[in-house]
């Protein structure tokens, strides 16, 4: 069973407005590489020049911020729910 990615708000444009995209991958970074094959703008918009996640983007795997796990190396298992969302909120 693949992992399910949801891109919310303005980030949805990165996957051509789709509500959910499914990816077979073993890590978040691997999934983004796979998605890059389908959506050419994705990596450029989500990642900083050094390949790390852009500071204004948050990725949650099953509601947990990947920065509290292994960042882009965070492992994925079948059926994981991944939410990609802007970090410009709160305070």
């Amino acid at each position: 069973m693949p992992a399910r990615f949801e891109f919310l708000g303005p980030l949805k444009q990165l996957v051509e407005g789709q509500d959910v995209v499914e990816v077979e991958a073993t890590s978040v970074g691997g999934a983004l590489e796979e998605l890059q094959q389908r959506y050419s703008e994705l990596s450029k918009r989500l990642l900083a020049e050094d390949g790390t996640l852009h500071r204004h983007i948050n990725i949650f795997v099953n509601e947990e911020d990947i920065r509290f796990r292994e960042n882009l190396q965070t492992a994925l298992t079948a059926g994981d729910q991944i939410t990609v969302i802007s970090a410009i909120a709160g305070g």
């Binding site: 204004h56 509601e63 911020d65 305070g91």
Partner: protein
């Protein structure tokens, strides 16, 4: 466009609308103004004749259809803190006292005033927020005043006083099993899945502009001059960034003479990601899981953390953090010296001021303003130990005189 939502990274400009993220590069949007026009039209005399509220600076706040709200939010006292100044050996010390802000006794009344004015403009019928407590109180009160439906999402373990106050308003309080950062993520999802005006998500560019009025008022109350130093508590990092923006805008429109006020940030050690970034002299902020009694500053992944660090560094300031014990002791210090009862965040700000002095980061002689952002009644349990040894007497004069004789030294100044 005299005002626009402008991306602070790629510079793209759009009209004012409920949005917080640049559609092109996903960086934060910021409201920009036509400072040349404002500078040519606005002067100190005009402002002096206006109502005693934060909306006296309307030209430097988001435009509101139908005019600025008439609720008396802001214009809180700037106190010359002679007794605290004597205790700290700072002869030119001031307290900006938002513990008495209207209507809910914290600086959050300012940001909510702007956010809800714009929520009405944009046609939202339901508003909401993710809150560490003070914002919940402010949103509950002002949404009630405006007749808006509101939903307040909070971490389940906030101080009971803040939850109780929020629950009394005409609002729906929802406790979330998680940290503030969990609540914040949920609210961001709500923004995009429901048609809601979340004040610190899709209304955030407007909301955060309200914080500038702390800086405007400090300058006006000092006689239209900027302080030499200001100490500001940090949670999401928005307030300190906007105080910096406010000082810059006052220079740009000619209301004060150009000067670099040094801006200092204060956090609790149990949640100090911005102070850690400043002290590391690095570039990237490391989020933390909060572990402190200072709930109102418990944001482990602060949205404006980088901006706050830039504001501090470019001003020549610094950031520090203090333990919960130091913060609680400083609540008492402020109350004992100035008669101002502040919440835990205020204790952090006073205690960090003490620490910055000890480290030689603050100039003791300089005109310094400490920003007190919330009222002590909201976190009164933290100082409950002060009541443990209070004397209890019979309702007889003889009981009173016996007590006074026993406590002669302690009571000498008051009897």
């Amino acid at each position: 466009m005299s005002q626009a939502l402008t991306c602070n990274t790629c510079g793209e400009r759009t009209e004012l609308k409920p949005d917080t993220v640049c559609p092109s590069c996903f960086n934060p949007l910021e409201i920009t103004y036509d400072y040349d026009t404002i500078g040519g039209q606005l002067d100190a005399e005009q402002i002096a004749g206006r109502s005693a509220s934060m909306w006296r600076y309307a030209e430097l706040l988001p435009e509101v259809n139908g005019g600025a709200p008439d609720t008396p939010v802001g214009w809180t006292p700037l106190i010359r803190a002679r007794r605290l100044g004597k205790a700290l050996n700072m002869p030119n010390l001031y307290i900006k006292n938002d513990a008495v802000n209207f209507p809910s006794l914290s600086f959050k009344d300012r940001v909510v005033s702007v956010a809800l004015a714009k929520a009405v403009d944009f046609g939202f019928r339901t508003v909401g927020c993710a809150s560490t407590g003070n914002l919940a109180n402010a949103l509950g009160a002002q949404a009630t005043m405006l007749g808006l439906r509101s939903v307040i999402l909070i971490p389940h373990d906030l101080e009971q006083q803040k939850i109780s106050a929020s629950a009394c308003y005409n609002t729906q309080v929802v406790k979330v099993n998680g940290t503030y950062d969990d609540v914040n993520r949920l609210c961001t999802e709500l923004t995009y899945r429901e048609n809601m005006g979340i004040v610190n998500v899709n209304l955030r560019p407007f909301y955060s502009e309200g914080s500038k009025t702390v800086g405007f008022e400090i300058a006006e109350q000092l006689g239209w001059r900027l302080p030499d130093q200001v100490v500001v508590p940090m949670a999401g990092g928005s307030l300190i960034s906007k105080v910096g923006k406010a000082f810059g805008e006052l220079v740009q429109v000619g209301l004060v003479r150009e000067k670099q006020a040094a801006i200092f940030g204060a956090q609790a050690t149990g949640c100090a990601p911005i102070a850690a970034l400043v002290k590391s002299r690095g570039e990237e902020l490391t989020p933390v899981k909060p572990d402190t009694v200072v709930k109102s500053l418990s944001i482990g992944a602060p949205a404006d953390g980088h901006r706050a660090a830039r504001t501090i560094r470019s001003s020549g300031g610094w950031a520090e953090d203090v333990s919960d014990e130091e913060a609680v002791a400083a609540i008492s210090l402020l109350a004992e010296t100035e008669g101002i009862f502040t919440e835990a965040a205020g204790g952090v700000t006073v205690a960090v001021t003490q620490k910055l002095l000890k480290l030689g980061k603050l100039d003791q002689e300089a005109v310094t303003v400490i920003c007190i952002t919330g009222n002590g009644l909201k976190t009164a349990d933290l100082v409950a130990h002060r009541t443990e040894r209070l004397p209890v007497i019979e309702p007889k004069y003889s009981s009173y005189t016996t007590l006074v004789n026993q406590k002669e030294t302690a009571y000498a100044g008051t009897v």
